[in-house]
Symmetry: C2
Subunit: 375 residues, 2 copies
């Protein structure tokens, strides 16, 4: 993650994944989510924070989920239904369930179909927020499959040359299993910068790079600037400007819209912004296509080759998608997940309000010399 | 297409699609390609030029294909074989056939499987160059399916922060059918700029934008510069720099490598650059997922909404992927395909050498007042 998005070490409050998992599960249960589904959602969020994907962890998202369960936008106990199905595909209506909870169920259907016929594709409409799409893709990778996940929301992103948002930040994620190297895990917004990261940057008072965002009239902001509040800018597709490939980012976002919304029989948000989200899940069973041992040999060899790439001047390392998440998970499992004090305050108030035990804290600050003992 | 890549009107020599198709077919036949396959390859190339995808039409690619058939790198009459198969997937060894010829056969297998079980996925290794991946995706769209095509070549592109190429320009293409609007057709290299476009720009003496390419040591060229010859630069992933999302372009290129190479049981070019190319074809039968009439209603409405987006200052139009290709096809069917005189000279020499009738020319120049009559 770029430095702009990191909580400063002086401010951070650290929490173990187990403590986070327990508190989130209890919050979901108090809001009417059945116990097994509350556990699923808490697992997804704590894995997301463990991997360092703070933009999609509890800091940004949990308070929204709580609000949406409370105001009735989300259904805490959905009765989702399969609308069409073959041995290879399924199309699901999510009954306004939260995506981080019903998404894993959809991906497991894709995995089961892939086990039978080599590939499984599941589309889902009428779902709440999916969380980090990469987590869904990883569910397939854990089964020796390649996983793909897309999600359509919005409209929040400008099309190339446009002045009004038409697409969501529409993420694309994939994951591929490995034998010895960290798994490949890719999860991007099809914008220059993820919207949640811009919200984080605004909260942290960080500077943005030129051409990351546009003015409200659609013209890119070409100088460095402190991250403005959300209502004062527009999001640009990956590439930023046409000359640097924003038509590619725009087309990738549109692809995500088509795979997620149209294969699910949904209505794109640009035509009806009140619609729930739509998702696309794919699992490819590697062994149906080729020999699994050879796959692992080649995959590990390729990933070592990528990491052994000589570096450009001023750079110290070449990695691949998933390496940082893997390293962050190891580090955070040992030292805890760092949160901004404002997030901790929110936990204090919501747990008190719902009658849930307070979130257990590991440590409030990290000294220059090393980590203080967990308390 | 950006202005840098257009043949100047004073220079252009125009050829009808039919004339191009006939000459290319005869060239392929003289090189030992069976008649039906020669016709397939000629159709793919002339459709690519009709759509205005000059970088992947005859200008850049045909002379390479001719060379590869002659020096034995490509097999003019391949006996490709299905290695593994289920009702939904197939994995194919292409027997060193040319991708523009055997690729359509692979996509037709994916389409047939999609017709049966809703989705068809075909991976192919040991294949020559695929041409414009978008053409393959369009084969599915013509059957009321969503088509996806990826292809792995290389290694020619730097990973983020690296100084040696590791991935191919690894294209991603998709196409989606429409009822009344031009079909959606997206086809990108996962680089800032397609390599073939840089070769075109070098031939045309055009200027490149900052951060489009890197020096040989991996550092981005941050100023505008005349396009250098291929051996003097490195390709950067989409995004260009890390701050502007090159890790996203790099990860998309790696995805293409994984889907194309690894599901086909191939070896990535970064481990063995002598390998042939690998491809990934997918067809999704829309009707298996949802109601086709509703799909068409929503799709046309969405595409009209995109095209009706208010424009940013200084811009005159918002389009979507496929609109320009559609308009170019209409224009070129009427007025012919414009070629650089150097390309026409190559045709003169190769047709003479192979004993093929000369390529029929429509017009040599276009006047200010209008188009001269075809001759």
């Amino acid at each position: 993650m770029l430095e702009q998005f990191k909580v400063s070490k002086e401010d951070e409050v650290r929490v173990s994944a187990e403590a986070l998992n327990k508190t989130v599960r209890e919050i979901f249960e108090r809001l009417g989510v059945p116990a097994d589904q509350a556990a699923e959602g808490a697992h997804v969020l704590s894995m997301t924070d463990l991997r360092g994907v703070d933009s999609h962890g509890v800091s940004n998202m949990l308070r929204n989920y709580v609000e949406w369960f409370r105001n009735g936008r989300l259904n805490p106990d959905p009765n989702w239904t399969i609308l069409r199905e073959t041995p290879a595909i399924a199309s699901i209506d999510g009954d306004a369930g939260l995506g981080i909870i019903i998404g894993p169920a959809a991906m497991r259907i894709a995995i089961e179909k892939a086990r039978n016929v080599g590939v499984g594709v599941v589309s889902m409409r009428n779902s709440g927020h999916l969380g980090a799409a990469g987590h869904l893709a990883m569910l397939a990778a854990e089964q020796n499959m390649i996983g793909v996940c897309m999600s359509a929301a919005g409209p929040r992103v400008l099309p190339t040359h446009g002045a009004e948002p038409r697409l969501g930040t529409n993420p694309i994620a994939y994951a591929a299993p490995t034998r010895n190297e960290p798994p490949v895990l890719f999860d991007i917004a099809t914008t220059v910068i993820a919207e949640n990261k811009l919200r984080l940057a605004h909260r942290l008072g960080s500077e943005l790079e030129p051409n990351w965002i546009a003015r409200l009239d659609g013209s890119p902001i070409t100088e460095r600037a402190i991250a403005p509040p959300r209502e004062q800018y527009q999001l640009l597709p990956l590439g930023g400007t046409r000359e640097h490939g924003s038509h590619k980012g725009y087309g990738l976002g549109l692809w995500t819209e088509i795979m997620s919304t149209f294969l699910a029989g949904g209505v794109p948000s640009m035509l009806d912004p009140t619609q729930h989200f739509k998702h696309h899940f794919v699992a490819y069973d590697i062994e149906a296509f080729t020999d699994l041992d050879s796959y692992f040999d080649q995959m590990d060899a390729m990933l070592r080759r990528l990491q052994g790439t000589p570096t450009a001047p001023g750079q110290d390392r070449v990695i691949y998608p998933g390496v940082l998440e893997h390293e962050e998970e190891i580090h955070r499992r040992e030292h805890g997940i760092p949160f901004h004090p404002e997030v901790i305050q929110w936990f204090e108030s919501i747990t008190a309000e719902l009658g849930v035990d307070p979130l257990e804290i590991m440590a409030v600050t990290r000294s220059e010399e090393g980590l203080p003992p967990a308390r």
